[in-house]
Subunit: 287 residues, 2 copies
Amino acid sequence: MIEKTIRLVVPDWQAGDNPVYKLGAKVLKAIAPENKEQKTITVKTADSNQTLEKENNVTAQSAVLKNIRNTKKVIITEQPNKIITFGGNCLVSQQPIDYLNGIYGEKLGVIWIDAHPDISNPEVFYNEHAMVVGNLLHRGDPAIQKEVDNPLKSNQIFYAGLQEPTNNEKKLIEQAGIKYKVQDENQIDSERVIDWIKENNFEHIYIHLDVDVMNSDSKNFYATYFNNPDLGEIPDNAAVGKMSRKSIWQFISNFSQEYNLVGLTLAEYLPWSAKEMLDLMNNTNIF
Amino acid sequence: MIEKTIRLVVPDWQAGDNPVYKLGAKVLKAIAPENKEQKTITVKTADSNQTLEKENNVTAQSAVLKNIRNTKKVIITEQPNKIITFGGNCLVSQQPIDYLNGIYGEKLGVIWIDAHPDISNPEVFYNEHAMVVGNLLHRGDPAIQKEVDNPLKSNQIFYAGLQEPTNNEKKLIEQAGIKYKVQDENQIDSERVIDWIKENNFEHIYIHLDVDVMNSDSKNFYATYFNNPDLGEIPDNAAVGKMSRKSIWQFISNFSQEYNLVGLTLAEYLPWSAKEMLDLMNNTNIF
C-alpha cells in the first residue's frame, strides 16, 4: 500500500461550546514540524454566533453536523491511510477513526487517552464532544452518529487516564461492554495497553489525546480546560485529569516507535495565553 | 501621507538565548486578526546551534547582528509608516523604532512596558535583549548599535511597569538621563504617561510590550519567562513583573483609541504549552 498521511486541522469549537478550541487548532497547525510529504487541510467549520442554542438537547447540533460532514468530505477526497488530526475539541476524532476503521477493520485499536469516557448521549448531557465514543459505537447522538459508516466494536477501545466516571457514564460504559479501569496512578500502565493489543491482535493503532487527561498544575500542563481564566461553574461530569505530562509524552513517543500508529488526534488544547494575546490585538487600534 | 502598516514577524531567539522565543513569534503570527491591508513579512533569522557561544561578551553576537540587518532590510524595502512587530525577544524593537524615529523624529515617543529597563551593555551583561534601549540611545553594545541610524533622545523613552533595576542598570539609566519611577502599583499610571506626552509634544507613539512585565501567576498571565517548566537559576537582573494583565490590556487598548499609535511590539511571549505540544510531535513517529 502506498503510504499517505494527511494533517487535518479541524477548528470545531461548537461541540465543546468554547471558541478557544478553534484557536487551539490554529496554533497546533502553525507550530507542527515541517514535513513536505504531509498535506495539511483545514476543514471549513460552521460560522455561528458565539452563543449557541440547544437543538434536540444538543448544543449547536446543526453546526456540529455540518463540521462532521465537511471533515468526512475532506477525508474521502484525500483517501489517506494515516491521519493526524489537530482539534478542536474531542469530536474531531469521529470521522478519522470511522474512516480508518473502514480500511483496517478489526485490526484497528483505538487508545483513548482522556480523563473522560466521551460516551454520553443527548439524554444525559448536551455538549457533543462528550458523545464521540458513543457515536463511534452507534450508541451516542442519533443525529450525529449517522455519519459513522464503520462503527467500532467495544473491544477496539482502550481507555487510558480515565478518572471516575459519573453514574450515567458508568452505566453507558457497561452497557457498551467496554472494559475499563479508573486511573489512580499518574502514569499510563503500558503493560495493560500491550496486553489488550495482543489479546485482540491489533496491527494498527489510533491514539486520541485529550490534553485534559493531564494534571492542570501550571508546572505540569497549563493549556487545559481547568485553567480557563474566566472559568465559572465546573459541570459535574468534568472529572479532573491526574496524569503527568512527561509520562504521557513518553508513552506516546515510545509507543509510536514500536507500533504502527495510523492516526493521532491532539484535542482540547486550549491556549489561554494565545487567546489573551488575541484579545489584546482585537482591541488595539493598529490592527 | 498614504498609510501603510506592515506586520513584521521576527523570530530572533539568540538575543535572549532561548529557542522558545521563535515559537512565540510563530504563534502570534498565526493567531493575529485578519487584515488584508497589512502585509505580513517574516524576517529570516540566523540558523545557529541551540548552544550559543559568547562573542565580545555577547551571546551569539554575530547571529544577532545578522537578524538585526535582515530586519532593517525588510523595513527599508517596505517603507511603511506604521509597524506591528511580533517577537521574538525584546531586541526585535530596535530596527522598527530606529526607522520610525527617522520618519517622525522628535514627535515620536516610545512607551517601554517592561519589568526591565533593557539599557544594559556588554560590560555588565551578556544577552543582547537586555541592551536594546541602550542601543537605541547609542549607549549599548558598540557592535550592534551601529545599525541604529536615528538614535533616540532620553526624553523619548517612558518606562512603564519597571521593577527595581540592578545597581548597574540604575547607573546606566541615570547616565542616560531617563526619568523613571519604579512601579509599585499593579496598574499603569496613565496620567503620568499623558503628562510626559504633553510635556514633549509627542504626536506619534510606539508601544513596546514585554509580556514579562505582568505578574506570572497562571491566573494573570502564564506565557512568560518565569513559568519555564525547565527554569534553572534566575539571573540576578531578572526582576519579576507585577502588573495585572487586565490593566495593561485596558491601557494599551484605550491608549490606541486616543493617540496615534504608529508602532507596537509584542515581545517575549513564551508559549510553554505550545512548546510542549511541539516536543510531543517531534518525538512521535507519525509526523
